[in-house]
Amino acid sequence: MTNKHLSETEIQQFCFEQDTLGNSILEHVSKCELCSIKISNYKVIDEKLKNMKKESFNFDLSSMVLEQISADTSSSKFSMNVFFSFLFALMAIFIIGFAGLYVIDILKLQELFIDAFNPFIVVIALCLVIILFNYVGEVFSQHKKLIRLINTL
């Protein structure tokens, strides 16, 4: 056995990583009162720390997070909706507009259409109205959801 007292590191190693120490150190501790006291002090501290009250949140974290996730999902759905209705409207403008021009040309109806009623302009105006309705509808339903959420809090 070694006659040298343990260093602070060895004292802590003895308490918390005993398998890293050699036999001579273990033997010294078994015979040395001073080192034993130092070790027992760390053990007392360890024991107290183990039994210390664990912290916990005083709010319902899972509900808060799930609400946020569902709000994020619906807002990304909302922007996807706006994007798709815009894309759809653009395609409609071109298809119906060109079809309209073609029909006018075939049936020789040019004289019936003054400039303001050019089929392109008519379709654009219609699409804008549809997009606007869609947008107002979405905003309204989001607003209703929010009111419901506030009421449940």
Binding site: T9, S40, E55, V65, S70, D72
Partner: protein
């Protein structure tokens, strides 16, 4: 529960969440929020900040869940997000979390580490001298005085009883550094307790 059972259960839960089962995510939150709380309470003083960070941690976890590779327990991975979020919080506030000790005074360390127990040392047997409740109270207040990272490491090791390996995963600090910080934190706690006794506060 052994760790392969835990990973099996984690896989099942994560699979459900990825198939849009939000109840499964609620179960993940319930199963891990206590560990997250332990980290946040030690790292962040302000209650409102803690509340914001706690939500943020789980939103990040939800968004990145498909990237989780089961190399650790799910709770360890979420605790890692929590710890990182706290470190980022300090960075954003430009608070020098590290000032006190991360400029690592290696030479001090060496002195402490090689310090041989002094036969004349004032170490006395703590339990014999100090009543249990009193000691607990003093210890709690001494922990509060430690640097947030020390506090967190002490809590994870002693209170949560996590292994060095798990703590290393959570903090992304090298194992040697984790051991070194724990060493210094315990030594500070012990020294301050003995000092309090000498000053007659205990």
């Amino acid at each position: 529960m052994d760790s392969s059972d835990q990973i099996f259960q984690d896989r099942e839960l994560v699979g459900k969440v990825l198939r849009s089962d939000t109840n499964a995510f609620a179960r993940i939150i319930k199963a891990t929020e206590n560990l997250v709380a332990q980290i946040l309470f030690k790292m962040i003083k302000n209650e409102d900040d803690r509340k914001d960070i706690a939500q943020d941690v789980y939103i990040k976890a939800y968004k990145n869940l498909s990237g989780f590779k089961f190399q650790s327990k799910l709770s360890t991975w979420i605790a890692q997000i929590a710890y990182n979020s706290c470190i980022n919080f300090y960075h954003k506030r430009r608070t020098e979390l590290y000032d006190d000790f991360l400029g690592s005074r290696e030479e001090d360390d060496e002195i402490i580490r090689n310090e041989v127990a002094d036969p004349e040392s004032s170490d006395f047997q703590i339990e014999e001298e100090i009543q249990g409740k009193e000691l607990k109270k003093i210890l709690e207040s001494e922990i509060e005085k430690l640097n947030p990272i020390y506090k967190t490491l002490i809590t994870l090791f002693h209170n949560e009883e996590l292994s060095y390996e798990e703590i290393t995963s959570i903090t992304q600090l090298p194992e040697g550094t984790v051991k070194n910080y724990l060493f210094r934190a315990r030594k500070t706690l012990k020294t301050n307790l003995l000092k309090k006794y000498k000053e007659g506060e205990l």
